[in-house]
Amino acid sequence: MAPIIRTVNLTKKFGSLVAVDHLNLEIEEGEIFGFLGPNGAGKTTTLLMLITVIKPTEGTAYVGPYDVTREPDKARTLIGMAFQEPKLLWVSTPWDVLDWHAKVCGLSSEERRKRVRWALEELGLWNERHKSIHGFSGGMRKRVEIAKILIQRPKIAIVDEPTAQIDIVGKHRIWNMIRALRDEGSTIILATNELYEADVLSDRVAIIHKGKLLVCDAPKKLKDSILGGDVIEVVLEKEVPSKIVEELKAINRIVDVLAVKPNCLKIYLNQAEEVLPRITEFFMKVHMPVKSIQMSEPSLDDVFVHYTGLTIEEAQKR
C-alpha cells in the first residue's frame, strides 16, 4: 500500500539555521505515527510544512497524492492539525471556535451541532462553552485546541504535544480519544517530547534531533535494537568519578554506561542476572556504597540516549 504521507528530502532553513534537514519519511495509512524529539528538534516545523502553513526550502512532501508545494489547497482537504500552542483569540468562546472550525471543514449544521456538543462534553468544557477563552487555564485552552481535530475527523490528523499542560486523568482521556479517532479511519501523526506518550500510543516512532531523522520503527523494535537488552539503574551514596564509569564499562557483557545524574548510572548490558553480582561486587571494591539498584526494560528514552548520547532533557537544554 502506498504511504499516506511521504517526505522527500524535506528541508526548512530559517536564515543560517537548518530547522529540518533532508527529512525522508513514510507514514502508512491508519497508523499512529509518533514523532519524537526534544523541543527545537524540528518536529513542529515539519508538521507546519505538511499542513502547508510554511513552504519547504528544499524537497517536498506528499499528503495523499498531493504535493504540498504544488497543490497545497488539495493537500489541506485531507489533513487537520491540533497545534502545540492553542491558536485562539481571547475574545472567542469554545462554542464559536469549534462551530466555525466544523463549518469551515464542511460539516452540515446538524452534524456540526452534534459533533461540537459531543467534543465539548467529552473534554469537560460543556459548561464553559459560551465563556470567553480569556479566563481559561492553559489546560482548558489546550482541550479546545484538541477538540478541533476530534470534530473535524480528517483523513490525516496531526496532534502536536496533545497532552501538554493537561492533568493525568485528562491525558488518558485524550489518549483514548486519539485511539478512537484512528479506529474511525484517521491516520494520526503524534508529535511529542513525552517518551511514555509516544511509547503507549504509537504504532511506529520516528526520532528526530537537530532537524535530522535518527531512526524510525515500531517502539518495541527500537527498544530491542539497543545493544544490551537490559537496563540497570544504580543510585550511589556519592558522586561517581568518570574513572569508575570507565572501569565499569570494562566488565564483560556491559555494553554502555551513562551517568544520568552525578550519583546515578544507567548500565546497558546483556544477561543482567549474571552480571549484577559482579556490578555490586565492583562498587564494594571501589568503596562506592550503593543506595538502590533497579532493573528495567529499555524505554524510548534509552533509544534516544543510544542514538544521541543525550537524555531528552539534556537535548532540550542544548
Binding site: 507546519l48 499542513i51 502547508t52 502553513v53 510554511i54 513552504k55 489547497d73 489541506r76 482537504t77 487537520g80 492539525m81 497545534f83 500552542e85 491558536k87 485562539l88 483569540l89 481571547w90 475574545v91 472567542s92 464559536d96 466555525w100 472550525h101 463549518k103 469551515v104 471543514c105 464542511g106 470567553s132
Partner: protein
C-alpha cells in the same frame, strides 16, 4: 476556483469576532452620540449664517453626515488590528491550516472587515437620517451602495497597511497619523470653502470626502457637495477597486509560505 461559501464563512467569522469587542462597540456608539449631542449642537450655534449657507443651510446636518463617515472609516480600519492580534496569538497559522484556499481567506477577510463596519454603523446612519431627514429615497439607495463599497475599500486599505508593516506598534502609530490626516483633510467635518487652497486640493481627492459627499447627497444636503455625486461614486469605486485588489494581493503574498513570521 473560489468558493463563495468559503469566502462567506471567513467573512462571517470576522463579523462574529467584531461583535465580541463589546466595550469597543459601546464606546464607539457613545462617542458618536456625544459628537452629535454635544459638539455638533454647540458648534452649530456658534457659526455665522454665511457658514451655515456654505454647508447647505444647517451645519448640524452637515456635521452629523460627516461624523457617520468618520465612524464608518474608523470601524472598517479595525480589521488591520485584528490581523495583528491574530498574528500575536498564532491564529494566523490556524487560519492557514484550514481547508480553504488563500484567495478565499483573504477575500473573506476583506469583505468581513467592510461588512461588519457597515452593519455596525447602519443604526447610527439611520439615526443620522432621522435627524437630517430623507428627501429622495433613490439617491439614498445609491449613497448606501457607494458607502458599502467605501467600507470594503477602507478594510482593504487597512489590510494593505497591516501586511506591509511587521510591527503592531508601528501600525498603531501609522494608523493614528493616517487617521488624523485623512479625516482632517476631508470635508467630513467642515466645508471645502473654508479650507486653504492647498488643503482643498488634497481634500478633493480624499475618499472620505467622496463618502461624505455621497452620503450628504443621499440625505438631500445637495448644496454642500463639492462635485457631482457621480464623480464621488466613481472616486469610491476606484478607491474600493484599488485597495481591495491591493489588499488581497499583498495579504496573499505575505501569508503564503510563512512570510508573516
Amino acid at each position: 476556483m473560489i468558493s463563495l461559501r468559503n469566502v462567506w464563512i471567513v467573512a462571517e467569522r470576522d463579523m462574529r469576532t467584531f461583535l465580541r469587542y463589546k466595550v469597543l462597540l459601546i464606546m464607539r456608539a457613545i462617542w458618536f452620540l456625544a459628537q452629535i449631542a454635544l459638539f455638533g449642537l454647540v458648534v452649530n450655534k456658534m457659526l455665522r449664517p454665511d457658514v451655515q449657507d456654505a454647508v447647505g443651510g444647517n451645519y448640524f446636518h452637515f456635521y452629523v453626515a460627516g461624523i457617520v463617515i468618520t465612524l464608518l472609516y474608523s470601524t472598517a480600519v479595525f480589521i488591520g488590528y485584528d490581523i495583528f492580534e491574530e498574528a500575536d496569538h498564532g491564529v494566523i497559522e490556524y487560519l492557514l491550516s484550514v481547508p480553504i484556499s488563500r484567495k478565499e481567506l483573504v477575500l473573506g477577510r476583506s469583505i468581513g472587515g467592510g461588512l461588519r463596519s457597515f452593519i455596525y454603523v447602519s443604526p447610527m446612519m439611520l439615526f443620522a437620517l432621522y435627524l437630517i431627514g430623507i428627501s429622495n429615497p433613490l439617491q439614498l439607495l445609491v449613497a448606501f451602495a457607494s458607502l458599502f463599497l467605501f467600507t470594503f475599500g477602507v478594510a482593504g486599505f487597512s489590510i494593505t497597511l497591516a501586511v506591509s508593516i511587521k510591527s503592531s506598534d508601528k501600525f498603531d502609530i501609522l494608523l493614528g497619523v493616517v487617521d488624523a490626516l485623512i479625516v482632517r483633510l476631508s470635508t467630513t467635518l467642515y466645508p471645502i470653502a473654508y479650507m486653504p487652497d492647498y488643503y482643498a486640493a488634497l481634500a478633493k481627492f480624499n475618499p472620505l470626502t467622496f463618502a461624505a459627499d455621497i452620503f450628504r447627497w443621499g440625505a438631500g444636503i445637495e448644496s454642500a457637495l463639492i462635485t457631482s455625486p457621480w464623480t464621488a461614486v466613481l472616486g469610491i469605486v476606484l478607491f474600493f477597486s484599488m485597495f481591495t485588489f491591493l489588499g488581497i494581493i499583498l495579504h496573499e503574498k505575505r501569508i503564503e509560505g510563512g512570510g508573516w513570521q
